[in-house]
């Protein structure tokens, strides 16, 4: 095998690897995200991620310094101006589902070097991001504009009887 042949093979292999990596990278950006880890009183939300990526000017608008061009928030840039993209950019990587469990509270308290002592849990992270932006962009902000209430939820809010009578859905 000549040197040229070896080089061609290597280049082909490299191109193949790059193509696969790039395809994976794009594949990693989901079109739909099912937000359903905490469903009980409300159904999960099928979040149209593709539509929101087209709306948002930059991934960082929602993903902070985890991906995209990086954060511009004064409080974050001091440490995260040049941060690399993190391995896991999904919200639940940093925002805990069990944010008020004894384990989580003790974990935070035990880590004396932890700067982020006040990171919101996953539920709050979603709602702040969604409602915060929707208020500015005139998007939906009512509870049931985004997720339908379950029969268990109707009972929880004591809205089962009144709901049908009053026509419901105002909120």
């Amino acid at each position: 095998m000549s040197a040229k042949q070896i080089l061609t093979t290597l280049m082909t292999a490299l191109a193949f690897v790059m193509a696969v990596t790039m395809a994976q990278a794009f594949e990693d950006v989901p079109d739909q995200v099912s937000i359903d880890v905490m469903t009980q009183y409300f159904d999960g939300v099928e979040f149209d991620h593709e539509m929101h990526t087209e709306l948002g000017e930059d991934c960082s608008a929602c993903h902070h310094h985890a991906t995209g061009t990086g954060t511009t928030d004064d409080r974050c840039v001091r440490c995260h101006a040049d941060s690399d993209e993190v391995a896991e950019v999904g919200c639940s990587a940093c925002h805990a589902v069990d944010t008020f469990s004894a384990e989580h509270i003790n974990r935070q308290a035990a880590d004396v070097y932890q700067f982020h002592i006040d990171t919101p849990g996953l539920k709050a992270a979603y709602h702040w991001n969604c409602i915060g932006c929707h208020e500015q962009m005139d998007g939906p902000t009512g509870c049931q504009d985004c997720h339908a209430r379950t029969p268990e939820g109707d009972a929880f809010y004591h809205a089962d009887a009144q709901a049908s009578a009053a026509g419901e859905g105002g909120h």
């Binding site: 944010t99 008020f100 004894a102 002592i117 919101p120 539920k123 702040w128 809010y157 004591h158």
Partner: protein, 318 residues
Amino acid sequence: MSGISRRRFLAASVAGCAATTLAGSKKALAAGSFSGYPDGMGVLVDLTRCIGCRSCEAACNKEQNLPAPEKPFDDKSVFDETFHGGKQKRRPDENAYTVVNRYDVESESKPLYRKVQCNHCAEPACLSSCFVNAYTKTPEGAVVYNSKVCVGCRNCMIACPFNIPGYSYSSAFDPVVKKCIFCHETRLKNGLPPACVEICPQEALTFGKRKDLIKIGHQRIQTHPGRYVNHLYGEKELGGTHWMYLSSVPFEEVGFDPNPGNEPIINNVKDFLSTVPMVLAIWPAMFTGFHLLAKKQEGHGDHEHDVEEHHDEEGGAE
């Protein structure tokens, strides 16, 4: 009766005085040294985060098995309800241990919502006012009460600086006081956050150790310039409460007593109360002693004969 018994009587009363004084001062010292449970849990309520969804009210109702509400918990018309000629917004009662009220503050573009419930004082006034000892401040941070010993006197309702305890007026035979207990029985003592905190979609309620919440509260004020007034309500008020508040407007504009003082309510009466046993024990003894002495001196004049006679009679009886 007069000679030796008076001497004995005076000696006994002096001893009694000394004993009560010592006992009294020891008790007063013990009462003054309580500074709260260091690892007690608390909740930081951030008014800038609340969207007034009332889910906390629904969660409280379910957790505490309270009666069904008149209006469903997603009905926002309750925010328009006022009482006492429009001065009073909704308050917790026997059927609702927590309520959310809306405040339309001029300087704000959006309405503000304030959740009301027991603030779980470090040194609760309800506890100090209760003469049957129904109230307990638990090491976990909750102020709980034993409805089995409650006699329904309602002293705690008057003592509470936040007007929190409600009364089961609907119960004709066994009316007792009802209030938020921080979900102590079902959650807090098992290391779980109260139901209202768990349901809150906005994390307007942050659950944690009180000492950590104080740090978090000040950090929020510091890292969000212009968002909050520079005050963590409940950190120092009335000796400190385990539920604390952050607001974007001065606290009096969202229904808080802006200056309840930093002393626990009990400090208003502690000095006085510690003198009561002393007064009750010493004064009768002392004044009886004075009285007898005065009478005796009087007796040397007019009634000497009577006294002598009395002596004889006593001697005769023996």
